[in-house]
Symmetry: C2
Subunit: 211 residues, 2 copies
């Protein structure tokens, strides 16, 4: 599958590498095409780099791995016409570390996932993979025992596609929480995730729902 | 131990019943002493009912099980002099169901736990048991497999006491997240808890941290 990955931080480069390793055609998108082209050199011949717009246009599905505070602007730069009708997987979190304290820049009565869906109404936004460290995203087995991935979004077909893609990464348990408004909960869990991660020195960890 | 339980909803009556069953002296506190006295009749001879102030005065430790939106007022009615120096276990959540949508009445940059600690600076506030259904609170084994209880608070001795009390209820894994400001994460997890509970028809469930 042709996959566009927007964002060249740990999350974006790690996901792009993993999809390339799995045999997919990946284009990594950045504000600077040169930066993206440099980063994909070690990802093999099926990967390429370009602008946000290049990567969004290239992908049959598009991952938003930009920093949450810059996601709306990055996606605007990617271009609505390059996102319309596509599955847009929002991995970003609206984090602020101002005053040495983690808060969310949007929370409780709205979420980044919803903001993106409102800004790009013809994209099929699915929130996914934002509740865990990037290393866990592409290698769920590094935490001991089964843990869960959460998804939410308004389009059932898009969520089925994302569940399939998460399966390629090794995710056996993908819990569909409902519409994109459930991104409020998926983003809010970052507050306790961060507290846990600080406590355990940022060792890989994840949530498991026990019933 | 003498335990004061403030609040006569499912959470308060269930905790009071359980502590009475375990052989502790319990006083259930309510805005209406008569209501509390009626509710404790089936809890056995070691339990009693009274006003919020009666129950707070009685308890060596005090549980806040009032509804989050009314907790500060209920605790004011309980009286700072009856809470000062005591372990005050805050089980409440600042939930609003306005417009048929769950939101928190305080979130992200503050929390109910912190508000209570600020309002009663001489009480040793420990947030605990707010991240699960009341049935799970007193019977962690009703979910299959081990799951976790979270606590936070500024006083180490108070947290050690709460960990011991949670042990009486059957909690084997109690994760100390840090200071009372961690209540932001413990309360925010309610957003995803509620989404999960709706999905699974309010079956008992809980979170497990997998590492």
């Amino acid at each position: 599958m042709k996959i566009g990955v927007l964002g060249t931080g740990d999350v974006g480069t790690n996901l792009a590498s993993k999809f390339a390793e799995l045999g997919h055609e990946v284009m990594l998108g950045s504000r600077s095409a040169e930066k993206a082209k440099g980063l994909v050199k070690k990802m093999g011949p099926k990967s390429s780099g370009g602008t946000f717009a290049d990567a969004a246009s290239f992908g049959e599905v598009v991952f938003n791995c930009t920093s949450g505070s810059g996601s709306l602007e990055a996606l605007k730069s990617a271009g609505a016409k390059n996102l319309n009708g596509k599955v847009l997987i929002d991995v970003a979190n609206p984090l602020s570390f101002a005053n040495n304290q983690l808060t969310l820049t949007v929370a409780n009565t709205d979420s980044l996932g919803e903001q993106i869906q409102r800004a790009f109404p013809a994209a099929k936004v699915v929130k996914a993979l934002n509740t865990m460290n990037f290393r866990v995203q592409t290698d769920p087995k590094i935490v001991r025992g089964e843990s869960d991935a959460f998804i939410c979004g308004n389009d059932q077909g898009a969520k089925a596609k994302v569940t399939e893609i998460l399966g390629w990464l090794g995710w056996k348990s993908v819990i569909d929480l409902g519409g994109i408004d459930r991104a409020r909960g998926m983003e809010a869990i970052l507050l306790i995730w961060f507290a846990l991660s600080q406590k355990y020195n940022f060792e890989p960890l994840n949530f498991r729902i026990v019933k």
